[in-house]
Amino acid sequence: MSQTLAASSGARAGRAPARVPARGPARPPRPTLRVVAAPVAERGRTVFVLGALALLVAGLVTLLLVNTALAQGSFRLHDLRARSGELADQSQALREDIAQQASPQRLSSKAAALGMVPSGSVAFLRLSDGRVLGVAKPAAAPTAPTVTASATSAPTTGAKATTAPTAQPTTTR
């Protein structure tokens, strides 16, 4: 049945163009039909969905990576801070030590241990006239202690006043 249908319609189709002009010019010619491709929109949507998915995944992965990196950075920050603190402490301890070693007390006792003595006098050479100012002589080892009291030089008259309090000062020197 379908064969006969196809054959008759095929025959009709084959014959039709020849017959149309004969039947009357009033009817406009039918547009030719052709097979069109599947709608582009259909394919586009798939791509879009896939793209969006990919983007989402990529975004999530990136977020994950960034977060991981941040967390790692945070751990590293923590460790480095600890290290920095440690080094700062060390530096502070060393500075304190240097300051102590550089103190005048320490230096003078070390110099004394090396057999050095404080210089009693100093001389300057004036360039303008070549004159030596001050007294240039080698330093002598001081008799310890450097500053001594002349205990014996206190006159006895004064000692009297030391023991006897007075109401009003009438003398001084």
């Binding site: 945070s74 103190s103 100012l133 001050g134 007294v135 500053v147 206190a154 009438t170 020197r173």
Partner: protein
């Protein structure tokens, strides 16, 4: 069945709605509160520096190691099992094990530490103020119940040097004296705050909230003090105070041109790192806080006033007996002597009280008072130093009959050591008094110093008068004067001895002496003034014998350190005696 499922699902939904929508913010807040932590970032106190930027006092981080005895008693630790690798066993440790580990770190005896760690107290201080490194090592031991508290400590790298200037602290770190108190506002920093989310290990959560502000450290302050000179002055003074059996002593080194105090030594002093052990009486700056009657060093003011007023000249002749009766009282010279024929310069060189009265009484009391006041006597120094005493200078109309004469030779008025040095600074600076300075300025972060504007001086006497007085003072530092011990080879030195009767507050009478020497060098172009004062020395007491040697020691060192060359000019020969015409 279906209905049951519906009910359960509905309950779930309601609970979800409650959690996510209604209580959401409260819950989130609660969770955040668990993670959020606020840490105070303590600001370090600024340092006190010397004139070259050398640290005199600075703050450093320290830790107090504390323990809870209860927690230490139950201290457990998981250690790798040696028999079965990869597994751990639980060890129950106690105070003794903790003590064994801590003892070498804290430098304490194991038994003593064990005792400290044993008991039921929740808070025991094991050791105060350990260095951060020691604390780290202790922290790494991970002993349950042992913790640390961050503190700061004021350290003085040069030991007790300049302690009476820099100041001291109470037990709870409040400044109690010296520059620490005076400059507290500058030195104190502003604590910072940091708020952040943290994980159970205390690490900061990167994406969490962070808020807060940084700590602002205090400013460093520079003083005019020269550390090395300060050390020399303190050492020379301390040796002499011991040797003479003096109660105390002070030494002031002042720059002539601007009144800057380069050294301010006190003896006895105290260790700022152990103020708890210091004697309360020593926790002070005697050079500014203690006042005394200057005695003969005050005669320089009488001389300057008399010369400025034109009533006397350096060469004016005086016939000086051993005693002089004034206001119903007999004034005498320190040594009994036959009638002498001296110039006014000779009066000063031999420190004659009688001669000084004869010259000084030519100036009316009110005028004399004004000169003394202009020299800074009885006036605040302007240093505004905590515990400073301005001394005593009674108004002229209140002077008693004898006081009118005693002030002429420096008794009946009181000064502190800096004021006494200031008088000589005035003379050395051509008669212009510069207020003393102790603070150079505030040091900025880049190391530069923001100095306060230079103070203007006050003219007290004319330059000519000042020059005459200095020439006369050179006569003191001579074989004929009272202070040959103050001579420095190569330099021209001018100065004055003082051996004042000392007001003793314990008996409200005069007992013992104040021996002093104040001098300046080089005499013909003065750059430095050094004032040495010893209170109640008993082995020798004359200013020329007890104080002048200390002056020589300090001045010699100062001239060398500051590289001040001698001028090379010869001392003018000055007549001290007349032929008694």
């Amino acid at each position: 069945m279906f209905l049951g499922v519906c009910v359960v699902i509905s309950l779930f939904a309601v609970q979800l709605l409650r959690l996510q929508a209604l209580d959401a913010s409260a819950m989130a807040q609660e969770a955040l509160g668990g993670r959020l932590t606020t840490v105070t970032v303590p600001a370090l106190r600024g340092a006190v520096l010397d004139t070259h930027g050398v640290t005199l006092a600075a703050s450093v981080e320290r830790w107090d190691v504390v323990a809870s005895q209860r927690v230490v008693a139950a201290w457990q630790q998981f250690v790798p099992d040696p028999a079965r690798p990869g597994t751990t066993i639980k060890l129950t440790l106690g105070p003794h094990d903790a003590a064994l580990l801590l003892a070498p770190l804290l430098g304490q005896d194991v038994d003593a530490l064990t005792t400290k760690l044993t008991g039921t107290r929740g808070y025991v201080v094991l050791k105060r103020s350990v260095t951060p490194q020691v604390w780290r090592a202790v922290d790494d031991l991970d002993i349950g119940g042992v913790s640390g508290t961050r503190t700061s400590q004021r350290v003085h790298p040069s030991g007790g040097l300049a302690a009476p200037i820099t100041g001291w602290f109470s037990g709870d770190n409040k400044p109690l004296g010296g520059m620490e108190t005076r400059l507290d506002a500058q030195l104190t920093g502003k604590d910072g705050k940091s708020t952040f989310e943290r994980d159970p290990y205390g690490r900061q959560i990167a994406t969490g909230q962070i808020a807060g502000f940084d700590a602002v450290p205090g400013n460093d302050v520079r003083l005019t003090i020269d550390r090395d000179l300060q050390w020399k002055a303190e050492k020379a003074l301390a040796v002499q105070v011991r040797a003479t059996g003096a109660l105390s002593g002070t030494a002031v080194v002042m720059r002539v041109s601007d009144g800057a105090i380069l050294a301010l030594a006190n003896a006895p002093t105290f260790d700022p790192n152990a103020t708890g052990e210091a004697l309360g009486a020593n926790l002070r700056n005697r050079a500014l806080g203690d006042i005394y009657e200057p005695g003969s060093t005050g005669k320089v003011m009488t001389a300057a006033a008399a010369i400025e007023e034109g009533v006397v000249k350096a060469s004016s002749p005086f016939t000086v007996p051993s005693t002089l009766r004034r206001a119903g009282k007999t004034f005498q010279d320190s040594h009994s002597h036959p009638v002498e024929h001296l110039t006014f310069a000779g009066v000063l060189a031999t420190s004659s009280n009688v001669g000084t009265i004869m010259a000084g009484e030519r100036v009316p009391p009110a005028t004399m008072h004004d000169y003394l006041a202009k020299f800074g006597i009885g006036r605040p120094t302007g240093l505004d130093f905590p515990g400073e005493s301005r001394g005593i200078l009674a108004p002229a109309q209140d002077w008693s009959g004898t006081q009118r004469y005693t002030v002429l030779f420096g008794q009946g008025l009181s000064v502190n050591a800096v004021q006494a040095a200031g008088v000589y600074q005035t003379i050395a600076n051509g008669g212009v008094r510069m207020p003393p300075r102790l603070v150079e300025g505030v040091q900025r972060v880049d190391g530069t110093v923001a100095t306060s504007p230079a103070a203007t001086g006050t003219r007290v006497v004319s330059a000519a008068t000042a020059k005459t007085v200095i020439t006369m003072l050179e006569g003191v530092v001579s074989k004929e004067g009272t202070a040959p011990e103050a001579m420095i080879p190569g330099y021209r030195v001018a100065g004055k001895t003082g051996t004042a009767q000392r007001r003793d507050d314990t008996c409200k009478c005069y007992r013992g002496y104040t021996g002093s020497f104040i001098g300046l060098a080089p005499a013909d172009a003065p750059q430095l003034v050094v004032a040495v004062t010893l209170q109640r020395p008993v082995k020798g007491y004359y200013g020329g014998t007890v104080a002048a040697p200390v002056f020589r020691d300090i001045m010699t060192y100062a001239l060398q350190e500051l590289q001040i060359p001698p001028t090379g000019a010869a001392s003018p020969s000055i007549r001290l005696t007349t032929d008694g015409r």
